[in-house]
């Protein structure tokens, strides 16, 4: 059993224990009345955690590396949000896939020992490997961390699909901001999950997306976003098709590569990785998507959209 699995098991046991103590009948979501920053358990947790970093009046807890996962804080009740069925984390908070995304979240949070604001680019070698779905799900589980402001940014200016997954307006978006046609505040959309914000790709309207990506405005936008959000997840175009990732990755603090199992050729993935590393981009890890393991895949019972 891996360390992540052990951590997940411990987290589950801890959550169950706390819920038994607090008498939460739902088993999740209403923990705010049981474990708040001011409650005895919350104070105890705050002491255990690293010193807080104050950002815009909110408190974000950096997770110390030797403390297992950082999701032991109670999850606030999540309002209903009609998203695409593939955004599993928004639909089902307890399924295995959501837990797998939470494991990714834990890994990313533990990696950030200094508490700096992170901006992670999610990319892949070729299209349809699961970048957008991973970004959408990861952003949702990131937003479960209390007081952590998370932004899901769609930087695929050509074929951005994150707005379709979240079923939010795709414009105004990043392209409009980079073109100077809309302010950033207007482009960033709030979601039913309070900690989670969304910046759609927008519409280029005849403008060259490569120029927009390479503009100085993009760097300014990233600086502003990193100041405002604790964790930013950037959905990017695939490596093999466009060179945008080279620019976008340089603006981010790290790159996570999605590899679709049993689909993407290994040499393609290796070439993409070498290309990224050759451009001095920090590839912090990869996520294996579409693992076909018997009994582990997720299927929906109620969805109305393909």
């Amino acid at each position: 059993m891996g360390r992540i699995a052990e951590a997940l098991k411990k987290a589950q046991e801890e959550r169950s224990r706390r819920l038994r103590v607090g008498g939460d009948p739902g088993g999740r979501g209403t923990g705010g009345s049981i474990l708040t920053p001011d409650s005895p358990e919350g104070v105890q947790l705050r002491k255990a955690l690293a010193p807080a970093t104050r950002l815009g009046g909110d408190v974000c807890y950096a997770i110390p590396p030797n403390r297992g996962i950082g999701v032991s804080a109670p999850i606030p009740p999540r309002p209903a949000w009609d998203v695409h069925p593939t955004v599993v984390a928004a639909h089902d908070h307890s399924c295995a896939i959501t837990e797998q995304y939470r494991a990714v979240r834990t890994w990313l949070l533990r990696r950030n020992a200094t508490g700096r604001h992170e901006c992670i680019a999610i990319t892949s070698s070729i299209p349809r490997e699961g970048k957008s779905v991973t970004t959408a799900n990861l952003a949702v589980v990131m937003s479960e961390v209390r007081h952590m402001k998370v932004l899901a940014m769609d930087f695929d200016l050509r074929q951005g699909s994150l707005s379709k997954l979240y079923k939010l307006p795709g414009s105004p978006g990043l392209a409009d901001v980079l073109a100077g046609e809309a302010p950033l505040e207007e482009a960033i959309t709030t979601t039913p999950f309070g900690n989670l914000s969304f910046l759609p790709a927008g519409i280029c309207r005849g403008r060259n997306p490569a120029e927009l990506v390479n503009s100085k405005t993009a760097a300014h936008v990233f600086e502003e976003i990193r100041e405002r959000f604790h964790f930013t997840l950037v959905d990017t175009p695939p490596v093999r098709r466009l060179s945008d990732v080279g620019v976008i990755g340089a603006l981010c603090t790290g790159i996570v590569v999605i590899v679709r199992m049993n689909k993407t050729a290994s040499h393609v993935v290796r070439q993409s990785l070498h290309w990224l590393q050759a451009n001095n981009l920090d590839v912090i890890g990869c996520i294996a998507a579409d693992c076909c393991v018997r009994g582990a895949r997720y299927e929906y019972e109620n969805d109305n959209d393909d």
């Binding site: 995304y101 990785l273 998507a289 693992c291």
Partner: protein
């Protein structure tokens, strides 16, 4: 739990290998099934164009005359096997086939010139037939014994239409040919045996002449025959011994005479001076008396044992023997002659007469001695001649014995030749009356309805095997071409960056429905279609091989076939 990360198998683990094979089969089951069905179907259909070969057989029985059968039992097994084999070869001889086809005017409807000669294309067609028939003809001896043979004649051809007729013609011709061949072989064997016997006789006569020459030249050379000079030699030997004894006696007599004569002569000179007694040697009368007594006793003993049937224990025999022993002992001690005084003998006159008679007697004794010596020399010369002849005979005896052996062998060989000639003559005599070999058709020529080639099971196995091979090849190629990552371990090992997590497949309901539709309906339907196509193709191949006549009808006129099938049902 991270079920999807349980992939830490060793490649060398047999279970892992089996698991991998099973995984590949499960994952690529359609890729396995579709090429199998498609290629097998194609192979089945292709098998319809494989040329069919039909077989026609007829069985004949060859019964032998008892004399012929008996002859074959006695050392004729191998030669007759040769005859059988040669007949088997001859039946497929193109000249023989050509003869058969010409006699039956096959193939039918050959174009000819006005004078009856065949056109070149007809001749070429007939040559094709000859080649096809010669290649397809074979004989199989079902039963072979001295009394009868049961032979199956088989013909294999692609066109079954004329096979019965050709095979019948070949069989009839084969019977004639076999009879002719048997007679030819017998005649040639008879002439061979006769020539061998004649040669053998000549050689035997020559050797016998040489043996007679040996026997004449070297008497006594034959160890089995009595020596013709043995009697002569024995007689000469006996005579030689007698002559030698007589010579000794004569020499002693002459010496005694000379001694007596000298004594008499000296006594005559001293007679006036003194009266010394003169000693004269006289025969001892007691010695002669004892000799006669011994002879008488021996005669009485012999007569008692033979005429009067007395045994050795008989008292008279015992007494005579004791007396004989005593007399013999006395005889051995008794001197032959005694010396008496001349005074006692007579006076001087008497002495002179005695001297004169002694001189005469001495002269006679010398003459007799010389004659005896001459006879002894002649005897010795004769005996030496006989010895030389005997040594020569012994020296040439090995050559003589070798010659004798050769004569015996040749005589034995001649006997065997003559023994073999007799039954052949008898068989040929019977053959002249059509009685030695009798042929009968046990089974008439008939064509089997099913083709003998290609083999049904072999075709089925090859078609399915080719399909299976193609399927396995496709799967292997797909596995080789597929270079995607399959396990997290591969991913982490290959990329060198940490694998943060592996996310399971997310399937929406629509995708799930599509997958189910594809998995449960489309692919099974396609597979069923292909399986049905394969079964149909296989059934066609089966029918074409197992019920070729029906298949030919169905192929040439499907409507007629359906009508026939409907009528049967």
């Amino acid at each position: 739990m991270h079920h999807h990360q349980i992939d830490e198998f060793s490649v060398t683990d047999f279970r892992h290998t089996v698991h991998e094979v099973w995984r590949v089969v499960c994952v690529r089951r359609w890729l396995l099934l579709f090429p199998l069905c498609i290629v097998s179907s194609a192979a089945f259909l292709c098998s319809l164009w494989v040329p069919r070969e039909y077989a026609a057989t007829t069985i004949i029985k060859r019964e032998h005359d008892p004399v012929f059968a008996n002859m074959m039992k006695k050392g004729w097994i191998e030669p007759y096997e040769d005859i059988r084999r040669s007949l088997g070869r001859e039946i497929a001889n193109p000249a023989f086939i050509q003869e058969v086809l010409e006699s039956h005017d096959l193939p039918e409807g050959l174009a000819r010139f006005e004078d009856g000669a065949m056109r070149p294309e007809s001749d070429a067609l007939r040559q094709q037939w000859v080649k096809a028939v010669a290649g397809g003809l074979s004989t199989n001896v079902i039963e072979a014994s001295a009394h009868r043979d049961i032979i199956e004649i088989a013909l294999t051809m692609r066109d079954p239409a004329h096979m019965e007729r050709i095979l019948s013609a070949v069989r009839d011709q084969y019977i004639v040919f076999a009879q002719r061949k048997t007679v030819d072989v017998l005649k040639s064997v008879e002439s061979f045996l006769r020539s061998e016997a004649a040669g053998c006789r000549q050689a035997l006569a020559k050797l016998q002449r040489r043996r007679v020459e040996y026997e004449l030249k070297y008497p006594g050379i034959s160890p089995g025959a009595p020596d013709p000079r043995a009697v002569e030699r024995s007689a000469l030997e006996i005579e030689r011994v007698n002559v030698e004894r007589k010579l000794d006696d004569l020499a002693m007599r002459r010496e005694a005479l000379q001694t007596q004569l000298s004594a008499m002569t000296e006594g005559d000179g001293k007679a006036g001076d003194d009266d010394s007694p003169v000693m004269i040697e006289e025969p001892n009368p007691r010695h002669a008396e004892l000799g006669q007594e011994v002879e008488r006793l021996e005669r009485e003993i012999a007569e008692g044992k033979t005429i009067r049937s007395m045994t050795d224990e008989h008292p008279e025999i015992k007494r005579n023997r004791a007396l004989l022993a005593a007399r013999r002992e006395e005889l051995s001690r008794m001197p032959r002659s005694i010396m008496i005084s001349a005074k006692v003998a007579g006076d001087r006159t008497i002495r002179l007469e005695k001297i004169e008679s002694l001189k005469n007697e001495l002269a006679d004794t010398g003459t007799a001695l010389a004659g005896m010596n001459g006879r002894l020399a002649a005897l010795r010369e004769n005996l030496d001649g006989i010895g030389r002849d005997r040594a020569l005979a012994i020296e040439h005896r090995p050559a003589y014995l070798k010659l004798t052996n050769e004569i015996a062998q040749l005589a034995e060989q001649l006997v065997s030749w003559e023994q073999n000639i007799a039954p052949i003559e008898q068989v040929l005599y019977l053959e002249g009356r059509d009685r030695s070999v009798h042929f009968a058709t046990v089974q008439a020529a008939s064509v089997k309805s099913k083709p003998i080639s290609p083999d049904l099971r072999l075709v089925m196995m090859i078609c399915l095997g080719v399909g299976l091979g193609a399927a396995v090849l496709c799967v292997l190629l797909a596995e080789l071409i597929d270079r995607s990552y399959r396990t997290v371990k591969q991913l982490s090992t290959s990329l060198g960056v940490p694998v943060i997590e592996s996310i399971d497949e997310i399937v929406t309901a629509a995708a799930h429905r599509r997958q189910l539709w594809r998995k449960l309906v489309v692919m099974p339907a396609l597979a069923a279609l292909l399986v049905v196509a394969t079964i149909l193709a296989g059934a066609m191949a089966y029918i074409s091989l197992d019920h070729s006549a029906d298949f030919e009808i169905a192929r040439s006129s499907p409507r007629q076939f359906l009508q026939v099938a409907g009528g049967q049902s």
